[in-house]
Amino acid sequence: MRLAGVDHTARPTWKLRQTVEFYRDILGLRLVHSISARGWGPATHPDFLHFFFDSGKGSTIAFFYYLGAAVPDKERPSMRPAPDDHVFDATHTAWLVDTQEELRAWKARLEDKGVEVSVETTHEVIESIYFRDPNGYFIEITRKLRPLNRVDEVDAAATLQAAIELEDEASQAGARIASIDAVWQRKARLLEARL
């Protein structure tokens, strides 16, 4: 069995107008579907809107707007588009474009409309820009620098094996590993055993 790609990802919003204006008008994504319903299931579930913007190849980015629901205390949109809050920002969406020209065109479009956009960041296999939506959600647009291959897969398995072994050992002593150097050292030992 294999999955065929992303249908949608979803998150809550407490900024209805700003969210629609950002995704529909600033990013230019079509609002392609909306559910408006009485709360159902758990008795505490409020009435809600659930709406979807087209993000390409049949995928959408979706929001829940809960009517009358309490607004969380912490405001995030004023933060710069850098992962200063790494735990919150770890959950993010990365959209794909095909070329560097398109990536730069998105950066220019967003900046023209007053959105702060990060510099282009070159990672190992992708190049990305980052920005925040009105809710403070971290959004990434990226292009692939090369396809993933067998080396990536073998290497990923070895990295995770090394890290899991170390965390299991540490947890028996009530500890956790805190430095990546230990993972690199263990991984070298695992690979040496294959020589």
Binding site: T122, E124, V125, L145, V151, A188, E192
Partner: protein, 84 residues
């Protein structure tokens, strides 16, 4: 104990193996299909500029695995010593 650095055989880390080939103290081989192996019995030092790496890749320079003690690893320079 010699330093050993496993370099994944992917384009973004090729510059590391190439730089090691220019170090007389280094031996670079390809003992596994997925990795090049840098070996050295002397301390090893690389500069980010020499490798032409952006920070996001530089800070994962030893993701392939390393045997040795990383004495310095800042934004511009890395130095590894043979393991104790």
């Amino acid at each position: 104990m010699r330093i050993r650095v496993f370099v994944p055989a992917v384009p973004e880390f090729a510059a590391l193996a190439e730089a090691a080939k220019r170090r007389p103290a280094c031996r670079v081989s390809a003992p596994l299909p997925e990795y090049q192996l840098i070996e050295s019995s002397e301390p090893l030092e690389f500069a980010r500029k020499e490798l032409g790496l952006k920070p996001a890749v530089w800070y994962g320079l030893f993701t392939g695995g390393v045997r040795g003690r990383i004495e310095v690893f800042d934004r511009e320079r890395v130095r590894i010593l043979p393991a104790d």
